[in-house]
């Protein structure tokens, strides 16, 4: 028997609405008001999104951020800083009950399970990818997808990004890359750590094509029966409430 999932198809929102939607779905799922959910989304304008425990000054070049006109945003989940580029990636979230037997309490196993949709999506595109603990999906040693999870409200939220295209000038203009992190991986060039679907395929690829692969990938990985849906009025009300927090200076600059 396939597992039923509510499916919220690819939509474009700003950073604060996107993060508020993920949190609203998580709360509603924990409270048993909505089913398990898979959501695809994009960002406009592009935004730098910080993991919960990162500090703005360590991660972001404010001058470049302003020059490009990007938003600055903080997740409720931990993990690294990412550039959620409106031109270069698709993001996704999966929300399940925290006590769902499919999701391990062990963090690495839980990431492995919920990253499998990305591995399968890349397989659909003819790319051989693998999960790399703790929270990445890599192809030939290079990261193509970063993920973050949080357990809150009795639910688990897994969200992440799949790089489709990449503007090094933008990404390394706005993000400060730690020397410690680079030295550990013994790689001189920050750019060598990441890759994109477009580079891997050596051709242009449209967002609809990536979206279709993601849908098929998650269907396989979660044995999911996807039922197109929307946010409930309860979730919409939560989005409004949470968005105010995500957009506040106090939240963004809390570290």
């Amino acid at each position: 028997m396939p597992n039923p999932f509510r499916f919220l198809d690819l939509k474009v929102n700003d950073a604060y609405t996107n993060m508020a939607m993920d949190e609203a779905m998580t709360k509603a799922r924990g409270e048993g008001k909505v089913p398990d959910t898979l959501r695809f989304y994009m960002w406009k304008p592009s935004a730098v999104t910080l993991g919960y425990f990162l500090s703005v000054e360590d991660e972001v070049n404010p001058e470049a951020l302003n020059r490009f006109g990007f938003n600055l945003n903080r997740r409720i989940s931990g993990g690294g800083a990412v550039l959620n580029s409106e031109k270069g990636e698709i993001t996704y979230s999966v929300v399940l009950k925290e006590d769902d037997p499919r999701v391990s309490t062990d963090p690495v196993e839980s990431y492995h399970y919920l990253c499998q949709g990305i591995v399968e999506a890349l397989d659909v595109l003819g790319i051989k990818a693998e999960f790399k603990p703790i929270n990445d999906v890599i192809v030939a040693g290079k990261k193509v997808s970063g993920n973050a999870q949080i357990r809150r409200y009795g639910a688990v939220l897994h969200h992440g990004t799949l790089l489709v295209d990449f503007d090094a000038r933008e990404m390394f203009g706005v993000l400060k890359i730690s020397k410690e992190k680079l030295s550990d991986k013994m790689i001189q060039q920050a750019e060598d750590r990441v890759t994109t679907i477009r580079r891997l395929l050596g051709r242009q690829i449209s967002f609809p094509e990536v979206r279709d692969a993601l849908e098929e990938g998650y269907r396989r990985a979660l044995d999911a029966e996807l039922v197109e849906g929307e946010l409930t009025p309860y979730e919409e009300a939560l989005v409004k409430q949470f968005r105010t927090r995500y957009a506040s200076r106090e939240w963004i600059h809390r570290r």
């Binding site: 931990g78 963090p107 703790i134 949080i150 357990r151 410690e180």
Partner: protein
């Protein structure tokens, strides 16, 4: 302000910023790309260490005790790593 940055082997990056006045911790901020739940435990650890003596052995015990008592879940870093980055920052 003293700072130290530590990449946990096979794990995540931790940073400590610390200020000591008269042998006591006056400011402490821990940041990084690790995962921790509940996330409020990090702020509470920082608050608890404020005013403590800036003594590595004491800090190590306090940090490990705090996370054990709270049953804090973390990925990419351990309680020992947090103690390590704080104590390295003190020596910086």
């Amino acid at each position: 302000m003293k700072r130290f940055e530590y990449k946990v082997p096979g794990g995540k990056l931790l940073r400590a910023k610390i200020e000591v006045e008269g042998e006591k911790i006056k400011f402490l901020q821990l940041t990084g790309d690790f995962f921790m739940e509940p996330e409020t435990d990090l702020e509470e650890l920082e608050a608890q260490l404020l005013g403590s003596r800036a003594e590595p052995a004491l800090i190590e015990v306090a940090v490990k005790d705090f996370f054990t008592r709270r049953k804090t879940r973390m990925a990419g870093a351990s309680p020992a790593d947090f103690a390590h980055v704080i104590n390295q920052a003190l020596r910086a």
